[in-house]
Symmetry: D5
Subunit: 160 residues, 10 copies
Amino acid sequence: MTRTQLTEKILDIKREKGWSWKYICGEIGGMSDTLIVGALLGQMKLVKPLAAKAAALFGLSAAEQSMLNEVPYRGMPMPPTDPLIYRFYEMVMVNGPAWKALIEEEFGDGIMSAIDFDFDFERMPHPKGDRVKISMSGKFLPYKYYGAEQGIPEYGFKEE
Amino acid sequence: MTRTQLTEKILDIKREKGWSWKYICGEIGGMSDTLIVGALLGQMKLVKPLAAKAAALFGLSAAEQSMLNEVPYRGMPMPPTDPLIYRFYEMVMVNGPAWKALIEEEFGDGIMSAIDFDFDFERMPHPKGDRVKISMSGKFLPYKYYGAEQGIPEYGFKEE
Amino acid sequence: MTRTQLTEKILDIKREKGWSWKYICGEIGGMSDTLIVGALLGQMKLVKPLAAKAAALFGLSAAEQSMLNEVPYRGMPMPPTDPLIYRFYEMVMVNGPAWKALIEEEFGDGIMSAIDFDFDFERMPHPKGDRVKISMSGKFLPYKYYGAEQGIPEYGFKEE
Amino acid sequence: MTRTQLTEKILDIKREKGWSWKYICGEIGGMSDTLIVGALLGQMKLVKPLAAKAAALFGLSAAEQSMLNEVPYRGMPMPPTDPLIYRFYEMVMVNGPAWKALIEEEFGDGIMSAIDFDFDFERMPHPKGDRVKISMSGKFLPYKYYGAEQGIPEYGFKEE
Amino acid sequence: MTRTQLTEKILDIKREKGWSWKYICGEIGGMSDTLIVGALLGQMKLVKPLAAKAAALFGLSAAEQSMLNEVPYRGMPMPPTDPLIYRFYEMVMVNGPAWKALIEEEFGDGIMSAIDFDFDFERMPHPKGDRVKISMSGKFLPYKYYGAEQGIPEYGFKEE
Amino acid sequence: MTRTQLTEKILDIKREKGWSWKYICGEIGGMSDTLIVGALLGQMKLVKPLAAKAAALFGLSAAEQSMLNEVPYRGMPMPPTDPLIYRFYEMVMVNGPAWKALIEEEFGDGIMSAIDFDFDFERMPHPKGDRVKISMSGKFLPYKYYGAEQGIPEYGFKEE
Amino acid sequence: MTRTQLTEKILDIKREKGWSWKYICGEIGGMSDTLIVGALLGQMKLVKPLAAKAAALFGLSAAEQSMLNEVPYRGMPMPPTDPLIYRFYEMVMVNGPAWKALIEEEFGDGIMSAIDFDFDFERMPHPKGDRVKISMSGKFLPYKYYGAEQGIPEYGFKEE
Amino acid sequence: MTRTQLTEKILDIKREKGWSWKYICGEIGGMSDTLIVGALLGQMKLVKPLAAKAAALFGLSAAEQSMLNEVPYRGMPMPPTDPLIYRFYEMVMVNGPAWKALIEEEFGDGIMSAIDFDFDFERMPHPKGDRVKISMSGKFLPYKYYGAEQGIPEYGFKEE
Amino acid sequence: MTRTQLTEKILDIKREKGWSWKYICGEIGGMSDTLIVGALLGQMKLVKPLAAKAAALFGLSAAEQSMLNEVPYRGMPMPPTDPLIYRFYEMVMVNGPAWKALIEEEFGDGIMSAIDFDFDFERMPHPKGDRVKISMSGKFLPYKYYGAEQGIPEYGFKEE
Amino acid sequence: MTRTQLTEKILDIKREKGWSWKYICGEIGGMSDTLIVGALLGQMKLVKPLAAKAAALFGLSAAEQSMLNEVPYRGMPMPPTDPLIYRFYEMVMVNGPAWKALIEEEFGDGIMSAIDFDFDFERMPHPKGDRVKISMSGKFLPYKYYGAEQGIPEYGFKEE
């Protein structure tokens, strides 16, 4: 059994039952919807209590439940050909240089973590057409300057 | 003169003057910092009054000022090799499928615009390490179902 | 069941029945032929009433009908190796720069939407060989200049 | 001198003079704007009388005028990273399969020419936002079935 | 059923029967061998009377016969790794620039069609080792200069 | 000095003098036009007497003449974006499998040489539009079955 | 049946029987080991008498025996990820320019054939660690200068 | 001035002076050699006091000193063609799956940081040939399970 | 049976039994955990006694046991999309140039072997978050300067 | 100064002087011709005494002589488009799997070194056309099975 086969099985059941993701996330609960849906699509791990709830909901075997608790091989083929996902890719491609310049000026040498980050989106009603509002925050991780002597900042935080 | 040459000239002046992006954006003003920095890095257009201010600040020629008012050929080589930009790319690569599933369930068939979208980031102090907080909102654009007969939704909004 | 398997099943039935796309689109109706054929080939969503008609026509199961109502992961491998599709790709590759220059001069900074666009083609008889006539129109979406102050155009429409 | 250098020179002059493409095309005339702009951007050939007019307008040397009359090495790097051009690329990537199915059913085995084709776009005012209207027609070129015996259609036109 | 599966089935039968391509093309007849073999390998369409003959020869079902009459998605992965096909690819890669220069000088701006072209090869005995002799001719398609005024050549034929 | 710089210099002179390739090949002579143009474009070597003639014609230095006599690093970026060259590439991509099947059946296991091959093209007048007629022949090179024992064909010629 | 499936079957039998390649090549004989193993792995053709011996050894069907006698679609995905094969790839990548310079100086304009070439390797005992000794020889194929006049070398052999 | 130009200048001076990296790192000091060399090669930032020392050593201008203090656009083209760097790439390609399995089992869901990591290498004398000994340690960053309810681990640390 | 299928079977059993890698490596023993896990994931060979132990543990057939003793086709698709493996890839991409400079200065011209290398990792408790500590050592292999005369170093060791 | 610029300078001098590689290698001496030519083309390092001889021969500056003594960033773009180099690439692509099978059976788990290897080629006269004879030998490097217990072979040599 591969993770792709498990995802296909879960989507088959979702389709047959006519369940929405909202319903499924409500039943499993315990974490953000993005993480739960990500796990069911094969990109995230479900911690044990949630994997158990998912297994109960979808009627999965013990091995399938166990697989949901495994960290999958993450990622999808790039560039994304699907327009919805491509638009996010384009935001990075067009705005990446400016984000880099501004974040480094504000925080110093480092990155915004893609691991310790949270993400939320909500519908923002708007008279000219509703908007997708996305909020995310990621921990800033400064480049470590190892071997640093005294008087040299050990981490890449903004220099005075 | 190419846009790349103009960007290099602007960065040379910034370096010689010791200016920060914050200072530069404050002098030019009128739009979000991301857009101004993006324009100076060759990814965005500066509208005429701002191009004039930028030209005055950097001592640019009339032709250079005019080039800042042009829409550049946007985009950068992908995948990004720089870690800071790569982390955003990875967020899309890992979370794209879940975002697609949840946005389509909430909004129907369509995309979140990468054109009519706004973006802001701020520093979020945190005891375990400060965080980069990003807020963005993009207009939801439903797929148009052209040739739609009466009784068929003309646009891809969520079906009842 | 994957969307590819559903497409293959639909094409098998079409072949066995000897149906033309014209006949199939006539039976399902309600939207443009390009969208209906696109959905049956796995690139578009059929809204519920049309998915029901398609299911009745092809004798599909409830789950298969439901899958036709889902937004698929759109896109195909590029560059296209098939000559018919490649010619469209070549038009973009050769004429893209001129289209960009002219559209931006006429409309300002922005794009022609690939989401809110309609498309039609017809046969144009011609003594030297019939022609394929294509008409399409897409909504112009101006780049949003967020954070714009008063006096600065909020959207990228053509500056005076 | 390369064609890229000539294009850069022409754009420098356009910028210094403050000319629009509309003005330039009006001065050169004789062919569609898309072709004239395409030639000045290095993707098309200008026939001799138009190359002469362009040379007079831009003050080009005889060798530069001669280069405008040459067929350039056409094409640009793909996939396009610029959002405006990418949207056209996406239309092909998402709708290509349906276009192929419908054109082949209507015309038989063959292609729509990307060489013998004309193209026009215009602004279509619309209360919800103006639209870009594109019309194009390309000669249908049937696949030649060479070596065809009598009774076998020599060309790929739609079989009865 | 996919076209690949049909090709595999046809090759299985060819192998079991011990038929040569010469024999198969003799039985089906009506078009050049390259086209018939191309169709059986999934790159070309067989017109109806030939598809019927092929179906009789290979004992195919009505649906399989119908599939042979469909235009396949043409093309193969490139660059070709097989040495025989690579040599043709290399001819284009090495000689393409000279062919372009000479054809454009002789014919003007345009292409040699890959659709309306015929192809033949024969064995040419030679004392130092036999040669493969290839003859092909393709219709020259001049670039259309649409929107052309009087006095401007409407097509890209060689200018006087 | 690179070969690319020499090619650019030769094209500059050709343009300034208003020479055609036909004229240039007539002046240099001694080999097929495709080879002479190929050498001037940096894909072929000119043997010494021809390099001398080319140097006299274009007024080249001794080092430049010597460079024309060198074997260049052959090849161009693929896939070709220029439509004229792409059509040849497409012929290989679409017809390669059939060519392989037929050549191997006729000649046995081996290739048609891209090194020991000659090439010629001519204009073929045709009432429906002139055609480009191409003739080429390449030596068939059988795969060597080294280590072959007696009774086993040493070379890959067609088995009886 | 595909060639990949036949290779998998042969490897399954080899594994079950516990045969070495040396044993298999001894049983089939008649050609070099590299060619026999290459054929069983799907990269070479076995001539008829050897295909018959291989079929007897592995207990293959008549169709499978026939497939071993077919010329396969040669080649594997590149660059090779396996370290053993990569080292050969690296030798070409690092030493290719020097090999080209030296072979062309010694032999003139042409190539060393990859078709008419033989290959052998043996174990070379060495006190610091045994070495793999490889010997190969390929026919030098000079570039044909077709259309060559008298006094011009017809082939690309080293000029005096 | 680009960072590449600055790197080239620094290497020119190093070569003219005959300095070793060891000498240079000794003069600049304050951080690990890998970081200092990385900065001089354009992959890292030198903090201000070190940039000042480097500027004094190499006789750089104020603008060049300032550029050394900037965070560069990190990364190099991949896969690396140089054998020394490729071997590290190969270690990841061959051992990546096992490292992932073992690290996730020991630490839970997360990554080893490439930002907060230190690196050292030393020569390890060995009778059969000296060895390169590498030690590195990177902070383990657990995937954040945002939106986690009580009782659900907030971070991806190893579950009991 | 392919190696991928064997890996999938082994992972299925591991999941059903609820075994950890630590437990599995303890049962098989005899080599480092990285090598054992690598072999079970299809990247390494298990020597015969360990393949026998693995077969007993997982209840494998003789052929499956034999396959574990074969050297697999090593490597995985790159760049890695999974974040954990990507971080190692990024370390090479960002630090490769500095590692090359420093290793060559210390050892001379050559590489650190990716074949004769050992690898170990351990958990390093740390108050700010535990760290992954990696130690590896690889034999330095100097480039052989073959054909070296007396007085010229035969190997690429550091010159005095 | 880059290594590419130095190579171009050396080739300019070679061309102006009319020197052959044989002459140059004779003057520099001390190592195999392949290594000397490789170094002058920017792929290898010349040890100090040879760099001195090369500098004297070509009249290089001290900095240029020093650069010849540096280990360059090795490798060239792949796949090679030049036919002479491609044929070597093709040998690896077609024969790689068989070489892997046979070398591993003879030597055990490991590779043939691309670093500690020597290479020689010579002209082999042959009545049907002279041949390029290549001899190379590379040290076999067995995969190290680190952490190996007693009774388990420490290295990957052929198991009994």
